[in-house]
């Protein structure tokens, strides 16, 4: 049901966070399931702002200045950001306040909670898990 678990391999990491930094778009292609956009939830009506382009899992995504990374991803329809280390079930932001760590992603090589990180243009973001 949870579509294609082939993206498990990239989750088994990660001796050094630097590895993510060097990951090319080809090598991350296999984690596409984590980043499969669903029909995106709606933005609040009347929200405006400068568009910021970034990438998730090698895919180009656009957010709005003032977004957190988690909000920009949710707005683009990405609800799954990682999988749980033990059972391997898909996870996405849950508490939205920096407590649960379910929203952990790897941003430019550093693992961070997406809900507590402000979006910046050009960020290269990959699914994160906590080994």
């Amino acid at each position: 049901m949870f579509c294609r678990y082939i993206y498990r391999i990239p989750f088994v990491y990660e001796a050094s966070p630097k590895m993510k930094k060097n990951q090319t778009e080809e090598t991350v292609g296999i984690c596409a399931a984590a980043g499969r956009p669903q029909t995106g939830p709606r933005r609040k009506t009347g929200l405006a702002g400068e568009k910021l382009a970034f990438s998730f899992n090698g895919q180009r995504v656009e957010g709005v200045a003032g977004d957190s990374v988690a909000a920009a991803l949710l707005a683009a329809g990405y609800t799954t950001l990682r999988e749980s280390p033990r059972a391997g079930t898909p996870r996405g932001p849950f508490c939205w306040m920096g407590v649960c760590q379910e929203c952990t992603v790897v941003i430019d090589g550093v693992r961070r909670p997406a809900c507590r990180t402000s979006l910046a243009a050009g960020m290269q973001i990959f699914p994160g898990t906590i080994a």
Partner: protein, 482 residues
Amino acid sequence: MKTALEPATLPAPADLIVIGAGPAGAEAAMSAAAQGLRVLLLDEAVAAGGQVYRAPHAGDKKSASSPEAVAGNDLRARLEASTVECHFGETVWSVSPGFRVDSLSAQGTRSWHGRALITATGASERVVPFPGWTLPGVIGLAGATILLKSQGILPGRRTLIAGCGPLLLAVAAGILAAGGEVAAVADLSPRSDWLRKFPRLASRPDLLLRGAGWLASLKRTGVPVFSAHTLKEVVRDGDQLVATLQPVDGARRPVTGPEPHFAVDAVTVGHGLVPGTDVTRLLRARHHYDFAQGGWAPDLDGNFRTNLPGLYAVGDGTGIAGAATASLNGQLAGLAAARDLGALADTVHEQLAARLEQQAAKAGRFGRAMAELMALRPAQVAAISPETVVCRCEDVTRAEIDSAIEDGARTVNQLKSWTRCGMGPCQGRMCGDVATALMAQATGEAPVAPFTGRTPFRPLPISQFAGDCDYGDIKLPPPAPL
């Protein structure tokens, strides 16, 4: 070579460090600074305001005029004009007696020193586990207020809202106002519970009126509201989530009856707030269990002093009582610290405190009535099914917890080392109070003590400990003369 264990900068010790810039911490910092103290205020958020007065999304002009945004802007402006030294984006991960506070920001780790410490870290949300609560798209109810208030986004196009307390209506009305669809609202509390609280809630007619407005907007849009219903389970069906409700009795025990279900793309669910006691537990201050105010909280005297000299605690981290109480008590805690540090004469302190104490007592009555609606219900915990994941980080199920207790685990710390429940990156903050409740029910011993506080209480990248260390840099001592 720079090791991260050495603080990058060592600012001169402050008189007072305040952790948390919500209404409680920000007011405490300002009232202490107004008495001439040098005060440092640390918060991991990008601006002051805490959970309730969070700064709105930069592109969200509509929310900028909400009562919370106005109060928040006022708080931030006063803070700006004060002498408080604010440091945002600093996540505190350790506190040692004396006081040394360690924090992590995008720039790395830093240490701060202060003669006294006020912890005002607020509350986090409790969600009593049910099958499907780990599915992406299922989020916390308090979390949904954050989405609406400061992230400029809705949880989904069509959302089911479940749980208990005032946030149910606030989130439902917020989603409707922002142009979203609410499939249904499932309130765990029976209607009679709200009515019983009515006399105390009426002490804040403004807030009561706001609640009535929220209810009216639900009525207008025809959103069904199910009183005395729990969220039984959520399953994924393609791109959709299917949420099933089940009726409960007065004790919140699920009973047989019609089980309506809804296809949605988001579910928000929350069962109240839990005081954030990371700092007070780490320092081993004394705590007590208060069912009505959210669970374990530090013991305090009338002046917000814990039993450890120089350590104060205030706000929802000391028991859930709401934003108005938090800001009044914050002012009182700041004054108490100023007095103890010798910046304020006893007689002046008494004069300044007297009026605030009266207001705080009144605000507290309202806050506590709300908190009681959100208290943890033992019958709801008892009804968690064996295959349900309780600890999200480590995927530990109820059955695994039960079998560890059967095998003799008697403290949640034992449970943690036997099952890994609470050992993951959230440090047991998501599962802690349900794990203690499960243990209390199985052993008949209530209340069971919480997880022992450990440092780092927020995840810290290993690289922060190791720094940019290269083995080649390590100076070897010259060989000893033979």
